[in-house]
């Protein structure tokens, strides 16, 4: 864990280093984006943001982030559609998706699993641990545990 950082300031963006995790946060709620940004940066990650589904898709295609934190309920293109489109695109289909949503039903979790999500975070969540969660997911994917992560979505209980 890196030491205390001045989160959110442009000049520290580079401090994550060239091999820092690049996380895209897609959420129409400004406050949620900000919470993710501040806490992910504190974990030494580079944070990209999009305020809607369409914008998220564009950033993902352009920037090819290491992981996407994806809200579901958004105006216009919703999270499910974004996940589907990313999966259909060769250049983006391997980007791991962690759903961050207010939808807590088992049916929604199953949908998340079917759409290839590797994590499912139900709002409200503790943003302090979000960096650690992202790190853990990516580490496990690197270890080849992507399928287990996917299967875990539907059975995981709301933290």
């Amino acid at each position: 864990m890196p030491g205390p950082l001045q989160a959110g300031s442009e000049e520290h963006r580079g401090s994550a280093g060239s091999d820092a995790r690049r996380v895209l946060v897609v959420d129409d709620e400004r406050s949620i984006r900000m919470l993710c940004r501040v806490n992910l940066r504190a974990s030494g990650m580079e944070v990209l943001e999009a305020d809607g589904g369409q914008a998220g898709l564009e950033v993902a295609r352009r920037e090819r982030p290491d992981v996407i934190l994806l809200d579901v309920m958004m105006p216009g293109l919703d999270g499910w559609c974004v996940a589907r489109e990313l999966a259909a695109d060769k250049s983006t289909k391997d980007i791991p998706i962690i759903f961050v949503t207010a939808r807590a039903d088992a049916a929604d979790r199953r949908k998340g699993e079917q759409l290839g999500g590797v994590g499912y975070v139900v709002k409200p969540f503790d943003p302090v641990g979000i960096g650690e969660l992202v790190d853990d997911v990516l580490t496990r994917i690197e270890r080849g545990e992507r399928e287990q992560l996917q299967r875990g979505i539907a059975t995981e209980h709301e933290g």
């Binding site: 406050s31 501040v38 809607g52 309920m73 939808r103």
Partner: protein
């Protein structure tokens, strides 16, 4: 024999013939024979006997000139008896006995009898070669029955035969006509009313005295007991007495004769002469009863069952006592016919009563909102009330008499999960199951009872309730979604502010604090809407109407909305000369906030949102228009329903409590205004609030 004597005899015969021709009734014929006939024959006495219906007995009809009790002694005797009349009836040949000695030789039994008279002549009475009786003539002195005398007697007998046969036919016809008249009267009486207790009582009256001295009708009670319905006698005093008697000596159900036996067996009893043994049997050792029975002088009895559709309902009793002649086969047949008609009348009245009861029940079922379906054990539809028709869309006329699976193909899937109650048990809870009919899905609450002879099902269309229940549970889900987002912001901001491992900039710190404030307000707003919807439901919203400045309210709403306006949205207000209006300022503000919120929320791609105020009549019109997603025409009314969401799956991501427009319309209508919407999908929507001049 002198010519004079011959002429005289011929004249006498002529005279008899004339008299006989005039006689109509058997009695008149008998009188004529026994007076003029006997005189013409120069006899001292005469008697006429006829064969009984069964041909076994000789019944003495009348006599003339014999002393005293001959009729009582010789009233009836067997055809087989060794007596002159019997012999003549057997042989069909006339019998002439000139001397007493000869008579006593031929008929020793008569030797014991009175020795009056000397010669007798017994002549057969026959028509068309069939002997039906005999005429006996007794002479004062010994008569030599020469050929002429014999011929004269035979001629007399021939005349008597024809007259008697004719009169008996007439009497029979008369009796038949009387019976027919009686039956017609009885039938008319029986059909006059459905109150068979009354009509049967009247029937007994009708039967007395033409048909009986006593007439009674007894009915079989529900537990096999005999219930006297009516008894009639010409003397009302005797009727009272009969009822008393019935009470004191109620019929025993196992009695071997009489009403209990007839009701039990359904077989009639007919005693032309009531046998002593039967009376003895009924009397037993009761001396008082013996006296009563003796006094009644019961002679002849007919007891016939009242039978309809194979069931014995009761019995009709006719008794000949003090006046009525002994019953004949014809009387018995009449009684059977009468009983048959009475039974049919009773049965009809009862059936009518039951049908009426059934009709009442069916009529009641016609008004029941629940579908009621009655099936027999072969699953054939016996009853299908209008509600059942409405729920299933199958008319009663198409359902009745058909197997239910033919009527509603989904029937077995509809009822397979329905536990059947037994009659008298507390029943089972209705099971709500979907029913797909011609592509539309209904939700039906079904309960059933198996009563052995079939099943009865109650169906209730709970589609609306089910839909409401679903929207309610959807609401819980969507409301929780709506609460989760601001909660996530508040909780997340607090957690982040409390992090000690990082140092937040002052700017971020301020932003987080503002976030907590605004998201907490948002939470409070959602909770407030839920509460307000509840109050509107309970009609617990009070209006405080006062003069308000509408333009001020609208500009205030726009001002606060501008603070957190998403990018790409612009707001404007157009208020041409509209200033004051009577309304509840807070409620109207709430309406405008909600409408503006919606306009912004449903414009994800930005656009212009305008509030326009306009005077209309004495009141005003407020329009809130956007350039957003628009509303499909099919949804334009439903969006005002409570819990209804344009996009319940929220796949387009627009959240909300599903209460905003419901609250708006309710509030506007409470201010006696009207809220409507006009929209074109993809182009935008315009909500219009029309408020009246004064509240």
């Amino acid at each position: 024999m002198s010519i004079h004597e011959r002429e005289d005899r011929a004249l006498r015969l002529q005279r008899v013939a004339e008299l006989l021709a005039e006689a109509v009734t058997p009695q008149e014929v008998l009188d004529a024979i026994l007076t003029e006939g006997v005189r013409a024959a120069e006899a001292r006495a005469g008697a006429i006997g006829v064969l009984s219906d069964d041909g076994e007995t000789v019944e003495l009809l009348a006599q003339q000139g014999y002393p005293g009790p001959i009729k009582e002694d010789w009233g009836r005797f067997p055809v087989s008896a060794h007596l002159p009349m019997s012999q003549v009836m057997r042989s069909g040949e006339p019998l002439f006995i000139s001397t007493l000695t000869e008579r006593n030789e031929l008929f020793p039994e008569l030797a014991q009898q009175a020795q009056n008279g000397s010669s007798i002549a017994v002549l057969p009475l026959a028509v068309e070669g069939r002997v039906f009786g005999a005429m006996a003539l007794s002479f004062a002195e010994e008569v030599e029955f020469g050929l002429e005398r014999r011929e004269m007697k035979v001629a007399l007998a021939r005349q008597a035969s024809q007259a008697l046969a004719r009169s008996r036919l007439f009497a029979q016809e008369q009796a038949l006509r009387e019976r027919m008249t009686f039956l017609a009267e009885a039938s008319e009486l029986l059909s006059s009313s459905l109150d068979y207790n009354l009509t049967l009582a009247q029937l007994t009256q009708l039967a007395v005295p033409s048909l009986a001295d006593w007439c009674a009708i007894d009915m079989a009670g529900e537990e096999g007991e005999i219930v006297r319905l009516a008894v009639a006698h010409e003397d009302p005093e005797k009727v009272r007495w009969a009822y008393e008697l019935q009470e004191r000596y109620p019929p025993k159900p196992n009695q071997p004769h009489g009403v209990p036996q007839v009701v039990r067996s359904g077989k009639p009893e007919f005693f032309p002469e009531i046998p002593e043994a039967i009376l003895e049997e009924a009397i037993g050792d009761d001396e008082e009863l013996r006296q009563i029975v003796d006094q009644l002088g019961l002679r002849s009895m007919i007891c016939v069952p009242l039978t309809a559709r194979g069931r014995t309902l009761g019995a009709l009793t006719l008794i000949a006592a003090e006046t009525h002649p002994t019953y004949t086969e014809a009387d018995f047949q009449l009684a059977l016919e009468l009983a048959h008609r009475a039974a049919v009348a009773v049965d009809n009245a009862r059936l009518y009563g039951e049908a009426e009861k059934g009709a009442n029940a069916a009529q009641a079922l016609a008004y029941v909102a629940d579908g009621v379906v009655l099936l027999d054990n072969d699953r054939v539809v016996l009853h299908w009330n209008p509600a059942a028709a409405a729920i299933t869309g199958v008319e009663e006329s198409h359902a009745l008499g058909k197997p239910v699976d033919e009527v509603v193909p989904a029937w077995s899937s509809l009822t397979s999960h329905v536990p059947l109650a037994r009659p008298g048990t507390s029943g089972t809870r209705p099971v709500t199951v979907p029913l797909v009919l011609d592509g539309t899905e209904l939700w039906v609450a079904v309960s059933g009872v198996d009563f052995g002879e079939g099943r009865v099902y109650a169906l209730r269309d709970v589609t609306a309730e089910h839909a409401l229940e679903k929207t309610r549970s959807d609401f819980v889900a969507t409301a929780s979604h709506e609460l989760r987002t601001p909660l996530a912001a508040v909780y997340g901001a607090v957690r982040t502010l409390r992090r000690e491992d990082i140092e937040l900039s002052d700017e971020d710190r301020t932003t987080f604090l503002e976030m907590i404030e605004s998201e907490a307000l948002r939470l409070s707003h959602i909770v407030g809407q839920i509460l307000l919807a509840g109050q509107l439901d309970a009609d617990a919203v009070e209006l405080r109407v006062a003069e308000c400045n509408l333009a001020e309210i609208a500009s205030g709403v726009i001002e606060s909305a501008s603070v957190h306006l998403p990018e790409g949205i612009s707001l404007s207000l157009s208020a041409d000369g509209v200033s004051s209006i009577m309304c509840d300022e807070n409620k109207l503000r709430q309406v405008l906030v909600n409408l503006l919120d919606n306009a912004v929320k449903y414009s994800p791609d930005g656009g212009h949102v305008q509030i326009r105020l306009e005077r209309a009549g004495g009141g005003c019109v407020i329009e809130v228009s956007d350039e957003g997603l628009g509303i499909p025409s099919s949804e334009r009314e439903r969006i005002f329903e409570k819990f209804y969401r344009l996009d319940p799956e929220q796949t387009k991501g627009v959240g909300g409590s599903g209460l905003g427009l419901y609250i708006c319309r309710e509030l506007v209508e409470r201010m006696e205004g009207h809220l409507s919407v006009d929209s074109q999908p993809g182009v935008g929507s315009r909500f219009t609030v029309a408020l009246p001049a004064r509240l």
